[in-house]
Each structure stands twice: as C-alpha cells, then as structure tokens.
Symmetry: C2
Subunit: 402 residues, 2 copies
C-alpha cells in the first residue's frame, strides 16, 4: 500500500518525538508499505516566528511572512529525514516546491491548484521514504506560499488525492474520533468509522481533531482519512470515508458541544417585509458567521429574532446591530448558552431521532432555547450550566456507550 | 551606485540588530543607491540546527543537512524584508534559488557555478531592496545546497561579480582591517586600502575578518570589497581592491600573528634521496597542512627536518610521523611557538625589508627558529612567550603607528 502520513506540531514537537515518528515510519515500512510523510513545524515554532515579525509591524507583508513561516516545516522535514537515514531507512525531504505543489498567489492563505507528483513517485520508486514540508507550496512564479491554518493536513490530503494513496493517516495527540468529548463523558467510545459528512458536522460543532477544509477536500478527492495518535500508534484510529463504505450506518454517531456561542435576541421588531433580510445581509457583509436563526411573530404584529454567533464575532456583531437599534424594542446578548448537537447519518432514514433528544433533555429539566436541524444533525441551544449534563444525557439516550 | 551589502550572523543576531541593519540600508537608499543585501542566519541558529541533527547521528546525510541549515538564512532574509517594508522601504527576500544561484551537488560545501541575475535585476528595477538568503544555492536539479563555512560572504562576492556591482561591503562587528590586532598593539591603525594579495596573506596568517575563499573570489571577479562594521556604520571601512588601484603602495601593510602552530622536528634522518618527499607526501595524503619547512644537512651526512603544522592537525600528524620513527634519531613536537608575519606589497620593489625585521627582533633578544618568505610576506617562527612583544616590535620597526 502507498500510505500518506501526516504528523502535526505536537507529534514532532521535540527531537525525541521526531525520533518516535521515525520509529512509526520504520514499522510501516517493515510491513511492506510505501510512505510519504507530511510534517508540520515543531510546536511553538510558527508562533515564535510570527512574534518575531510582529516586533516590526502588526501587519507584516504577506509574501515575506510566507518566506518566514515556511522555514519551520522545512526544518522538521530535514530532521525527520536525518533521523530515518540514521536508522538505515533511506529518506529524502522535500519542500512544497520539490513535492510539486503549485498554489495561487494568495499569500498566507494560498489554495492548492495542482500537484506534480513526479519527484515523489521517483523517490518512492527508488525505495525512499518521502518527507514533505507541509503547509506550503509555490506560485507559478516559484514564490513560496503558505496554506493558512490547518495547512499541513491539507497538504497531506491533497497529496494523497493526487498520488492516489490507499490511505491518508493524520497523526495527532488524540487517537481518533469519539462519540463525544471523553473529558465530559468518560464512557465515550472511539468510532471505528465515520462518514465525511458526519465528520464535517462534528468538526464545525467543536470537535477539534480535524479541520473542515481538509475533510472537505478528502470528501471531494475521495481520500480515505484516518485520525490516529503518534503517542499510541498501536491503537487503530477512526476511518473517515464515504457513506457507502460504512456498512452499518448508526442512527447517531456522536454528540458535539460548542460553548463559544452567543445568543442574540432582537425583540419587538416592526414586522415589515425584508427587515430580517436587511439585518442578516448587514451581518454577512461584516463577515459575521450567523448560525441558528429563529423568527417568531407575536400577536401584536411585532417580530422577535433570535440567532447565534461565535463569541469571537460578538463585538463586530454589536456594531452592526446598533445601526438597527431604532427598529427594535430591545436587543440583548447572552453568552451563557451553548450548543449541543446530535450527529448521525442514520437520521436520514429514521424518524423519532429528534424527539428522543428532546425527551432526554426534558427529563433533566433542561430547557431548549433554539433548535435547528439538518439531514444528519440536530442542534439545540441550552443554558451553558447544563452543557455537560446535556451531553451525557444525550450520549446515554442514544446508547452511545454500548 | 549598485551596492551589494553582506551582514553576518552577529550583525543580524537579534531582532534589534536586524532593525539596525534596516536603518543602515534605509540610509544608503536615501543616498540614492540601489541595494542588494545578503544575510547570514542569526548568530547561534546554525549551530543549534547542527546540534539538533547530531542528536540522531554524528554523520547526518549531507543533502538533508543543507535543507536543514538553509532555513536559518531564509528566516533572517524574511525578517529584514519585513522590517524594511515596515519603515516604508519596499523590499523582497529571495532564497538562493530565487536569486538564481546554481551550484554543483557537493552538499554542505557546494561551489557556485552560475548566477542568473534576472530576478534580482527586475526587483531592483521595480525600486525594491533585494534581500538574499546567504550561504545557499540549488543544484541544476533544484535541490538546495549550502556553501560551507564563510558561505554568505561568498554569496555576496559572487553576486557582486555577476551583477557588476560597484562595491561589495562586508559588515561584521569589526570596522576594517588593521595594521595588526589592536588587542595586542593599541597603536594599530585601520588601513584605508589593501590589495587582495595582502589580504589573502593576512587572512591565512590569522586575521579573522574575511575568509580566503571570498577574497580569492573577489580577486578573480575583480570585486571591490569593503570590510566595515554594522555597529559603527558611520566609520568608513577598509577597501580591499587590486594592487593597481592603490596609489601609494606601503612597504608593509600589517603584522599578523598565528599562535595555532606546532613545530615538528625530525632529527638525524639518514639522507637518502627522496626521504623528504616521501614524508611530505604521506602528510599531504592525510590532509595535513604543512606550512614552513627547513631542511638542514649536518656534517655527519644526517638530515634534520623542521616544519610547522596547525595545532588542529597535531594528532593526525603524530600518526603519520610514527610510521617514519625508525628512520630518524628522534622526532619532537613543540606547540610553544608562534608565527609572526610581516605583509606588504611594497616588499616586491624594496630591499632590506627582511633585515629590518630580523634586527627588530634581535634587539629584543627574540630568537627566530624558522624563516620563510614570499614576494609580499616574511614569516618567522619564534617562542610563543615572545608573541606579543614580537608583534609590537615589528609594528614599531615599520612605523605602522604613524
């Protein structure tokens, strides 16, 4: 098999851990597989370089930041290659350019346009382990670019897609995707498989293991992703794959919790056509990520609008909302709430999934303030003090500990 | 004027010093010059990376070391470019590859083969300061290489030659070339000009400011080199140029001292033809740098051989000499000696230069053990305890303090 492996900043955070990664690769090579490993910068390095640049200006030139930041991954790739060669496993490091990764010229947030896999294929043919510096590519003019947050995962998925690898394993410090956060519910179980869509919902709902951009790309390129840990490489991780590859589709795969939400209430709005559209357009123009929306028309002909935004957008949201202050009786902001979500592909073909959730929360006297549903997800806004209780109740209600 | 500037590790050793370098460049730009600046890694960075690699093996793969080590200069070049842009001076960093530097494939000690100056010229035309990551290039296969010790100086000189710059200024922490080491003789004077050949002699005799490889290249490419300090940029440095450019040729330019010498004596060798050749061939094959040689034939038909080697080669030298032990009465090693040298292009056309040196040392009762002369140099081996006294006597004898 041709395996693409990706090791994040924590997995290569010290010289010892890089040595450990070399051992993981050695074992996979010994099993007869070919390996392309993508590495991040040693944890802390990228932030250090950003701090350096910011001593000169808060807004450093983007194309110079990419020259600066791309060095961290180059260092790790060379060190890992040295470590592998030292234990008798021929390896060669490659920069993004050498790995054939061409991006657009959006410095600091470039998008991969194409990958010429020739160099990598030749090195594999020559029996070498290929170590690619993640997070970077070059423009058509050969200028180094970086891919933004989560860029090394993207590098791995894109390479796995381009070279048609059998699997793309993302090594972090957690050993897979769980039915819920084990710190909240110790009975949480690691999932063997999960579909791209479920993973996308879980990721956007607060599960931090994989980022949406990489999962979306894996889905698009049909790459079998595995989430596993470099600290416990003997533990099988979780396979993220297309729905058709999952034989037994579970009703519910997991419970996600997102505490970084603010509920915005705009009460007593004169219900003239288009008012909601005007408000949400203004919020969108300010790049505010509005999530759940409920509109209620009262008997007096006035409208109440309720919606949620990420906590980080709160100040920007207040600025926009103030321009509408005249048109409402009052506007309030409540950050003592959280979003609990039930995710599962099985929901598509089953009824009664939502009512089970409502019943479970009702049994614990937890009021649901806003509800929103999609084909494979039910999200509920509840008071933040009930967050953990809500997660545990739902986890039990759907028998996720079994 | 088009100026090529080179800033060494100490000159860019901290974020403040990089800021200081940006100010030096700003001033030169304000005077109406175009600037290409070559930078080293921040001092300590390269050694840190070497230590990292050596945790895995004492002999890391060379082509991976180059990937590793080249990152330090990339970081500095990006930081300096960010600092310049931040104060309103458009700048662009370039890796060795972007600067068009192609080398052979001798990793860790590559030699520059060609420089395509197109990118640099275009950036200069666009009004930008070009910041080049020193010490590195790429092979024709586009694999990063490094140039070995003193590599950033070489980058600067080679670029200055290829782009026909008016001057190549090497900024370090000393402000030029002195008639002798000012720590030994406080009356030492900074030289305004010195010829390539004198500089080469001084450098090989222990003056640490510029390395021979760069001076040789400057001579070959006819590049006007200036040695000056980034800590006192207002002080004019020393111009190293061709002899024809120096109107008043001084009799003697400087006195050099090298304490890292061992005198090897091989006494009572049976004087058969070819014995000296056999010994010195064996030493050369062991990469031992033999310097001054004196052969004396005694009345008994036995030969005494005296020569000097660098202290670092002592152990290797003993190993070789032991194989000849049978052929001599005895072999001894004396590291309590030093080499004092008088350098000056004026010697070519003057007589009596050497006798002035001998007289000066004799006046202080300093015995000369070995003498060797070249067209522009007289070197003398004396007891190490007389080192400073010898330097000061010679400095005075040739009126270098005037």
């Amino acid at each position: 098999m041709l395996k693409v492996l990706k090791f994040g900043g924590t997995s290569v955070g010290t010289l010892d851990r890089i040595q450990n990664v070399a051992q993981i690769i050695k074992k996979i090579k010994d099993e007869g597989h070919d390996v392309i490993a993508i590495v991040s910068a040693m944890s802390g390095e990228t932030n250090k370089l950003i701090e350096y640049a910011e001593t000169y200006t808060k807004v450093p030139v983007a194309h110079e930041m990419d020259m600066l930041l791309s060095s961290g991954e180059r260092v790790t790739s060379a060190l890992l290659s040295i470590a592998l060669n030292a234990i008798g496993y021929p390896a060669t490091s490659m920069s993004g350019r050498e790995a054939g990764i061409v991006t657009d010229a959006s410095f600091m947030k470039a998008r991969i346009q194409s990958i010429d896999t020739t160099n990598m294929k030749n090195a594999i043919k020559a029996g070498k382990v290929v170590i690619v510096a993640g997070f970077q590519g070059v423009t058509e003019q050969n200028r180094v670019t970086t891919l933004g947050r989560g860029g090394s995962d993207l590098t791995a998925v894109a390479i796995a897609g381009a070279i048609e690898a059998d699997v793309c394993e993302i090594y972090t410090d957690v050993d897979g995707i769980y039915t819920t956060d084990p710190r909240i519910e110790p009975k949480a179980k690691k999932l063997e498989k999960i579909s791209y869509d479920e993973m996308l919902e879980l990721a956007s709902l607060g599960a931090k293991v994989l980022q949406n951009r990489s999962v979306e790309m894996a889905k698009k390129l049909n790459v079998n992703l595995v989430s596993r840990s470099s600290f416990t490489p003997e533990v099988e991780g979780t396979l993220i794959t297309k729905e058709e590859n999952i034989m037994e589709k579970p009703l519910v795969s997991g419970i996600a919790l997102d505490k970084n939400q603010v509920r915005v209430g705009m009460y007593g709005v004169t219900d003239k056509p288009g008012i909601a559209a005007t408000i949400f357009t203004a919020l969108a123009n300010a790049n505010i990520n509005v999530d759940m929306i409920v509109q209620t028309v009262g008997v007096d002909g006035k409208t109440d609008l309720d919606f949620t935004i990420p906590t980080t957008d709160l100040e920007a949201c207040k600025t926009v909302m103030n321009t509408f202050a005249q048109q409402a009786r009052n506007i309030d902001y409540n950050d003592s709430i959280c979003k609990v979500s039930v995710v599962g592909v099985g929901m598509k073909s089953h009824t009664g999934v939502a009512s089970k959730a409502f019943t479970a929360l009702a049994k614990e006297n937890i009021n649901i303030r806003i509800i929103s549903t999609s084909e494979i997800k039910i999200s509920m806004i509840v008071e933040e003090k009930y967050a953990e209780l809500a997660v545990r109740s739902l986890h039990e209600a759907y028998d996720l500990d079994k």
